[in-house]
Symmetry: C2
Subunit: 303 residues, 2 copies
């Protein structure tokens, strides 16, 4: 039996809230794109596999191609959580319908997407936060230790800071402000015990739902919101300073909160930034196509 | 059938780590004292009931009295978590072996123990943190919203701050210090991924295990440890300022971290403090004996 030749490339950006998948032919034409459920193996391995499999089956249907085309498809999966070796070991056991699969981190594909190469550096701030930089010793991940230990300046951190400050306001430790009022309005209560009961079992995404209020209130001049942004901005500046020691060719700020953060960051950080060239899922597809120079052999984990 | 007359009083201080119980006769002689397992109904209702029942059965045995003495015993149980109405409703359904049971919060018995009256005010800092003050409208609880939303300046908060700072140090965002080295030594690793993996599922008590290192390193002059204590001390100062508006007759700082905190608090706080007269379990016993003037009828929830 002869191995099928590769005719298609498939990229997956798998995170804690969704799985973003994209199918292209070797000429770079987009044939299909879809979004399925959560795909962070460190949160729920079975759910991640289900979301990824569902996406892989949906793409040929959407492209009007027979399912067997997956046997001529090379896939790169950039998944949150697999920088933890235990989860990387689990995903390598998965049986997937494509002929050729490579696993890497969501940070690696994001860097590839942002720069059209997997050298360079990125800071991601969305529900979580982290940074990725290619050093002379290979790729290095900074931050991203998960909320509440890390993920400072992320949506989860911003929302948590705003809720915690609001509870102090309800304890009369600070006078009420635009921020505490906005938080109470979104939560639908200004009773401390009720706010605690609602928030007790929040995970990162639940906290992050309050993050937009911090930016909006800072814009309106609220000093408490501005203090929170100053503290988070200082952390992003520290991350950028550490990244700068590796002299990346390009450096981008990406993720769902990149745009809201920009006006609140110190200019010595923002002047270093380049606009991202593409999305993480585009980075995954480019890595699958082999467009991207691979400076550190063995970094991608082939199965 | 005639109701048994009350001959004995029993106090229970039920918290997230242990259940402390004490039996006295009406003359105030201590007949027995014991400690059983966790007794916070908001954490685990069945476990709390088991710990409390176990303590109630152990006390007569220890005192050399027949089990039926419990039918002549009035008990006051001060339990963590029952300021949340849902948990107060659950514990009122419990069947306990004593003839007369009253439930109240752990803060109420602590205040009664510290001041020999349940007026006055306390700040507790142990694994968690909170404050209790008797106001003209009745008792008021401040803080204590649970980690990570609240419980600032508690052991959980101190340990978490130290771990979070240590991870930033391992990311090279700060130079290593006495504090980060002490944390790595206690954790048995200086690898960020390993430290995260160990800490991912920590609950309050797990974080609090690192709190003593913060005091020890501050004592040795470590600026990072001192910055953490300054921030926590500022929160305790804010709590005290809010309490002071109610002009309590006495004000005490209690809990496992009260003594380590003292040298690090601003003098405008420490000059307000009175030494606690007794422990929370002594407060519960005194409330059961009826020694304590009850300024706000209906505050105790009789079953």
């Amino acid at each position: 039996m002869v191995a099928n030749s590769i005719e298609y490339v498939l990229g997956i950006d798998g995170g804690g809230t969704k799985c973003h998948a994209r199918l292209e032919n070797l000429a770079g034409e987009v044939l299909a794109e879809c979004i399925t459920g959560p795909a962070n193996p460190a949160q729920d391995t079975a759910e991640a596999l289900a979301s990824i499999t569902q996406a892989m089956h949906a793409l040929p249907v959407q492209a009007g191609l027979p399912p067997r085309m997956l046997q001529q498809t090379r896939a790169v999966l950039g998944l949150a959580g697999i920088s933890v070796p235990a989860y990387a070991a689990i995903v390598r056991q998965w049986t997937l319908p494509v002929s050729n699969v490579t696993f890497t981190t969501d940070l690696h594909i994001a860097c590839a997407g942002a720069h059209g190469t997997d050298t360079g550096a990125i800071i991601i701030t969305g529900t979580g936060s982290s940074a990725f930089v290619t050093t002379s010793q290979g790729p290095r991940i900074l931050g991203g230790h998960g909320f509440p230990l890390g993920d400072k300046a992320s949506g989860a951190w911003l929302g948590w800071r705003a809720l915690s400050y609001t509870l102090e306001t309800l304890d009369a430790l600070h006078p009420p402000s635009g921020l505490s009022q906005a938080i109470c309005q979104q939560a639908g209560t200004s009773d401390a015990a009720q706010l605690v009961a609602q928030s007790l079992h929040l995970r990162s995404a639940g906290y992050a739902a309050f993050a937009p209020l911090v930016f909006a209130q800072a814009q309106l001049g609220d000093h408490n919101a501005r203090d929170i942004l100053a503290e988070g901005g200082d952390y992003l500046r520290q991350l950028a300073a550490q990244i700068a020691t590796h002299k990346p060719a390009r450096f981008s700020l990406i993720g769902g909160l990149a745009k809201p953060w920009l006006p609140w960051l110190p200019s010595d950080l923002t002047t270093q930034l380049s606009a991202p060239l593409g999305s993480p899922v585009e980075g995954a597809v480019a890595l699958a196509r082999g467009d991207i120079f691979e400076p550190t052999p063995g970094k991608l984990q082939h199965v």
